[in-house]
């Protein structure tokens, strides 16, 4: 979706403000909000897609964790975790929901440790190879995507094939993992922004095969 969240290349957002000695959280409720969102047994593409849906004026006005707070209710209803009536009333109207995994404290402890036995990803034949020129396709999906607007239609070079990974555009909407190759793609700054950009500068990003076509 061409939403306000896809803001790479906009120029009217003002200077970058830094807060000296910034705390990790700015209010106690932000701690809880952070934890509730991360404890959900949902994949990030679905969670991000709900934040993408916040109306643009609200998105820009509210704080970072207010976005999470705005998104989490509709997200849980969409995922079948709570009903709309439960969200509206703030009360559990039915039985406990046993369809989802409940994160434990001991599992959290493993999040920052190396994986004991990483899953081997599925194998697929790559359509592109390192060094190849590719064009980011001109796509304007109404659902979730991780293909930023500012590279669509632009030509880049495959720097590296990262192997096969799940596709967020389908994952976000419960339409499956659609595993496919993910590539690091380099775009020259001048290809993206025109001749005023530095000739030596570039932008790199991770793009899925479905986002790319041969150039």
């Amino acid at each position: 979706m061409n939403g306000i969240h896809d803001m790479g290349g906009m120029q009217d957002m003002g200077p970058v403000h830094r807060e000296p000695n910034e705390p990790t959280f700015h209010a106690p409720w932000e701690r809880r909000m952070f934890a509730l969102f991360n404890a959900l047994d949902l994949e990030w593409p679905m969670m991000r897609s709900q934040i993408d849906l916040i109306p643009p004026a609200d998105y820009l006005r509210i704080s970072y964790y207010e976005r999470w707070l705005t998104a989490i209710g509709p997200l849980m209803v969409r995922a079948g975790m709570v009903t709309q009536a439960e969200l509206d009333s703030g009360r559990a109207l039915g039985a406990k929901n046993s369809k989802f995994h409940v994160l434990t404290a001991s599992e959290v402890a493993t999040w920052i440790l190396p994986e004991a036995s990483p899953e081997s990803p599925p194998v697929a034949t790559p359509a592109f190879h390192a060094g190849q020129r590719v064009r980011a396709r001109t796509l304007n999906p109404t659902g979730h995507t991780r293909l930023p607007r500012y590279v669509r239609g632009r030509i880049g070079t495959i720097e590296r094939d990262r192997g096969v990974e799940s596709f967020p555009d389908t994952q976000a909407h419960g339409l499956g993992k659609k595993p496919q190759h993910l590539y690091v793609v380099r775009f020259a700054a001048r290809e993206l922004w025109g001749e005023h950009a530095s000739a030596s500068d570039s932008v790199q990003m991770d793009l899925w095969e479905d986002y790319l076509e041969p150039a």
């Binding site: 957002m13 909000m33 920052i112 991770d206």
Partner: protein, 230 residues
């Protein structure tokens, strides 16, 4: 797919119900069909209500919530990334492994970051990390991101005007330095390996780690020699 923004948005607005959202404005303002603000009036109360509901539905364990907060507020932070950087400075073989396969190399230090890619600054290359689409950041080695990293100002301009943004942060780069911006669009995260400052030849690995800042590992700063004004 049948799910459109409109469908989902309708769901989001319908969710603006009694308990978890602010009370609706007076009825006489509501003879029209527009998208009402979804801004919460009292986030603290709403989050409390949410947690109660999620616990009642058996969706979350409060002990896990406490562990998440403890982990990301206190256990992880830039000190973890600094250890990785200092090791790479003192051990050329480690540095090579770190650049070739970051996940495996940080695992050697007991750090779990399978999705991490380290990119190296040199006298002629400067790397800068951003997430234009949301707020992706290498939590496992830097902790949670500061507000400026998540701000619209940084996210929008870091890709189109990286040199201007760096100037605002007080870092001027010569024209012959190549700027490589990394937009974190997938589940992979980026950490900048800063250049080792001059005058640190005699320092121990832990003394070196103490010099490494978050800003340098995101790429908005260079590291100053010890004892100098940054």
């Amino acid at each position: 797919m049948s799910t459109t923004r409109r469908d989902l948005l309708t769901g989001a607005l319908t969710a603006a119900g009694a308990a978890l959202v602010p009370p609706a404005a007076p009825a006489d303002e509501h003879g029209h069909d527009h998208d009402h603000s979804t801004v919460p009036s009292d986030p603290a109360l709403r989050v409390k209500a949410l947690e109660s509901l999620m616990v009642a539905k058996g969706l979350v364990d409060p002990a896990a919530l406490d562990a998440l907060i403890e982990t990301y507020e206190h256990k992880v932070g830039p000190h973890v990334g600094a250890r990785v950087v200092a090791r790479a400075w003192v051990d050329a073989a480690y540095r090579a492994r770190l650049l070739a396969n970051t996940g495996a190399a940080v695992a050697e230090l007991g750090v779990g970051a399978d999705d991490l890619t380290v990119v190296e600054n040199t006298p002629t290359t400067h790397n800068l990390v951003v997430c234009t689409l949301c707020s992706c950041y290498p939590w496992s080695v830097l902790g949670l991101p500061p507000l400026w990293y998540k701000s619209a100002a940084y996210r929008s301009r870091a890709v189109i005007d990286p040199r201007g943004v760096l100037e605002e942060f007080g870092l001027h780069l010569a024209d012959d330095v190549e700027v490589r911006v990394w937009d974190s669009t997938a589940e992979h995260r980026y950490l900048v390996l800063p250049e080792r400052p001059a005058g640190t030849e005699g320092l121990s690995e832990s003394a070196l780690a103490a010099l490494v800042t978050r800003d340098a590992m995101v790429g908005i700063a260079k590291l100053a020699p010890p004892g100098s004004a940054a």
